[in-house]
């Protein structure tokens, strides 16, 4: 019998660039332990586990098997779900289906990455097709830069427009003690002056590499309300991993996978006008220009209007639709966890546990994941059972 599902607790590590004090398993354990504490549960209460990361960052084959001491999977069902940058949301969605199927009541979703353990770009380059793309492909940064160059050409957006997004993310991060960039505020000029990595992306336009883990506990409607006063109900989950070849993605048009996934999710959850219907959004924005272009795909504004929407302050705390109160991907990026953190932070907002980064009166929250071949995952969470 299909069940409705809610998030009842979350946990995350204090994200840093190098966690030399823990190995991967130990780092996972920190996040799991915090999620169990947040939910008032012990590992014995967990019925199944889903875990994800991007293999080549730590070069561990069969991570689900390797992780069990840290993830709590000894003598439990555990499986690995991985889809590149979207891993965190794919893991969340898998945990959701574990519970929605009626087979498991309480499921632990774990995302993690120890980016310090490898040459991050060298590892990402292996996501490209070895025959056609790997020769020229240079990792996430230039790939994203190509989208930025096409967007600027089409709409006249400027590096300063993008810098406002970077500034917002970093400013929000100052309210989030878990964020990698907590305690490191910047100015707009800092962004514009930072070193150019791959035109037009500068150092402060792009996400950092982080060591960190996140854990989220999903529970069925039979137990969720007994475990927490305000569960964050999953109202929709949609995925479009639309393309297989980088060259099929037309950088001159909007982010198609996000358009398609959000349209389906909005339909399922009854969202008519995202800016009005959502109280907060945790969006997977790996670089500043995404903050201009991808909100158009989500229907926050028309194509080309992203820069003005940002400059008008609608996405700041106190604005019409605060985006990334946590500081977002540009403030913390432990790949396997990054998309899961969007879901966790959206749940934190709905559950009212956001402390300094809490948006007041959150009824519904939007969370997105991005990665792979310009793929998108969308989840909608809310105070009401669907």
């Amino acid at each position: 019998m299909a069940k409705r599902v809610a998030i009842i607790g979350t946990g995350q590590t204090h994200h840093r660039s190098h966690r030399l004090d823990v190995n991967g398993r130990e780092m996972i354990y920190e996040a799991v332990n915090r999620a169990l504490d947040d939910s008032g549960l012990t590992i014995a209460d967990i019925d199944a586990i889903v875990i994800g990361n991007m293999d080549h960052f730590e070069s561990i084959n069969y991570v689900d098997a390797w992780s069990v001491e840290g993830s709590g999977g000894v003598m439990k069902p555990i499986m690995k779900v991985t889809t590149g940058g979207t891993t965190g949301t794919s893991v969340a969605i898998a945990a959701y289906y574990h519970v929605a199927s009626g087979m498991f009541d309480k499921v632990l979703a774990i995302g993690w990455e120890k980016n310090s353990e490898s040459d991050t770009t060298g590892a990402i380059v292996t996501c490209s097709d070895p025959v056609w793309d790997r020769y020229s492909y240079s990792g996430a940064i230039p790939s994203l830069a190509t989208e930025a160059s096409a967007y600027m050409e089409k709409y006249g957006a400027t590096p300063e427009d993008a810098a406002y997004v970077a500034l917002r993310e970093r400013t929000h991060a100052q309210n989030n003690p878990y964020a990698h960039m907590y305690g490191r505020p910047i100015t707009l000029q800092d962004v514009m002056d930072s070193p150019m990595l791959a035109y037009p992306i500068r150092l402060l336009d792009i996400c950092p590499r982080t060591d960190g883990a996140a854990a989220v506990i999903f529970a069925s409607e039979d137990v969720a309300e007994k475990l927490t006063p305000q569960p964050a109900w999953i109202q929709a989950a949609s995925v479009r991993h639309t393309f297989t070849w980088f060259g099929d993605v037309d950088q001159r048009s909007g982010l198609q996978s996000l358009q398609r996934a959000s349209q389906e999710a909005y339909r399922i959850a009854g969202i008519k006008n995202p800016v009005d219907d959502f109280d907060v959004a945790e969006l997977y924005l790996p670089y500043s220009y995404a903050g201009l272009k991808w909100i158009e795909a989500l229907g926050f504004c028309e194509p080309g209007e992203g820069p003005q929407f940002i400059r008008d302050g609608h996405t700041n705390m106190g604005g019409k639709i605060p985006v990334n109160p946590s500081g977002g991907v540009m403030s913390t990026n432990c790949i396997g966890a990054t998309a899961l953190l969007r879901v966790a932070e959206a749940a934190i907002q709905v559950m009212g546990k956001g402390e300094a980064r809490q948006v007041p009166d959150v009824n519904r929250a939007l969370a997105t994941g991005f990665g792979g071949c310009w793929w998108s995952d969308v989840m909608i969470l809310g105070k009401e059972k669907p």
Binding site: H56, N61, S90, S101, T244
Partner: protein
């Protein structure tokens, strides 16, 4: 558990090297073939689960290579990195949760990378990897533990290779099929004692697909639905030294829960055939013990007494098992497919008579750290 069924299946031929085909080609072929088998169209497929391994493919985000070939351009999709039986588990959960159907695809090419390097990467980089351990040497440790614990000889285990490689002659998709004797196994080259070449599965190239559907879509499909009566999985500890390699605890747990889910009280009587993951000859009797078909240490007796032969009381691996075809992650999915063909009565020369209930099994992680158990039933 609600009524969900397997309504379409497809496998490529398993072979040493599919030189002409890319992963994309193989997945397209099995997707098309599974759709044809089921009589359904792509519109009837609500979502897709892919199964692949980044190390074997030499590509992080290995799922990227094949989404489109599985018809997933505008569909919900996800990827399990682990044995195909676990991917199919996720696919089944998605149907239980409300999708009308899930297409599950898996691919593996042992030929394109170095399996020893790749399976060495399964082991802990700090404590185990530099010692050179990989899948075969780890299995040898488990074989050693098992044989010593119960006084089992190499000759006794060789019988499993003889049975399974012989059964493979009746499986048109099998990679290896041969008429051999116990002597042939004993005299085959030593790989890692006590394992010899003929105690070990080959590494194959191949792909497979299944379509899992709810009752509504099962009605529409043209094959008799094979109902999923139980699905379970369980993992034990990771470090080999933290486990008792002669006692498959995780399998015991998964099997007992599966029997309960399926309402099976006497597995030996109520199950008509077993397709289990025999990557090595010793694994068949060890897993049979874990599944509760006999007492610990008695697994080989089932082979000696002819119980597990093709014409026996409880045929095990009538398809030839993993010992005959091992396209890595595909192998667990292939067990589910073979069990399905048996229950449909479509297993040709390897058909088990009056097969009504089957157990299919997959493993993940070194030495069967994690086990997935499926119980399937015909009408």
């Amino acid at each position: 558990m609600e009524d969900i069924a397997i309504v379409g299946v497809a496998q490529t031929k398993y072979e040493a090297r599919k030189y002409k085909e890319t992963y994309y080609d193989m997945i397209y072929e099995v997707t098309k073939a599974a759709l044809k088998d089921s009589g359904l169209s792509l519109e009837d497929i609500d979502n897709v689960i892919t199964v692949s391994n980044d190390f074997f493919d030499g590509r992080t985000i290995s799922s990227m290579a094949i989404g489109e070939a599985a018809g997933a351009h505008d569909k919900n999709i996800s990827t399990v990195e682990g044995d195909g039986s676990f991917g199919a588990f996720y696919g089944a959960m998605r149907v239980l949760a409300g999708y009308r159907s899930t297409l599950v695809v898996a691919h593996g090419k042992g030929s394109e990378g170095d399996p020893r390097f790749i399976t060495n990467a399964m082991f802990d980089p700090v404590y185990q990897r530099p010692l050179g351990i990989e899948a075969i040497s780890a299995a040898a440790l488990q074989a050693n533990t098992y044989m010593t614990r119960y006084g089992i000889s190499e000759r006794q285990l060789a019988q499993i290779s003889v049975k399974n490689l012989g059964n493979a002659k009746y499986n048109p998709n099998a990679h290896l099929a041969m008429d051999i004797t116990v002597e042939d196994v004993i005299n085959s080259p030593k790989v890692a004692t006590p394992l010899k070449e003929l105690d070990c599965s080959p590494v194959s190239d191949g792909a497979a697909a299944i379509i899992i559907a709810n009752a509504e879509i099962a009605q529409k499909a043209k094959q008799p639905p094979i109902w999923i009566k139980a699905i379970t999985h369980c993992s034990e500890a990771y470090f080999l030294g933290d486990r008792d390699l002669a006692v498959p605890k995780a399998l015991q747990d998964a099997a007992q829960r599966a029997y309960k889910m399926a309402g099976i009280q006497d597995p030996r009587q109520e199950i008509d055939l077993v397709e289990l993951y025999d990557a090595f000859s010793y694994m068949e009797p060890l897993w049979l013990e874990g599944m509760g078909f006999c007492a610990p240490g008695e697994g080989v007796k089932l082979t000696e007494q002819g119980v597990t032969a093709l014409g026996g009381e409880l045929p095990v691996n009538p398809s030839g098992g993993v010992l005959s075809s091992h396209a890595i992650l595909v192998a667990g999915l292939a067990r589910i497919i073979e069990a399905t063909l048996q229950l449909r009565g479509q297993a040709g020369k390897r058909q088990v008579k009056s097969a009504r209930t089957a157990l299919a099994h997959g493993i993940n992680g070194a030495c069967g750290q994690s086990h997935c158990v499926w119980i399937l039933g015909g009408a």
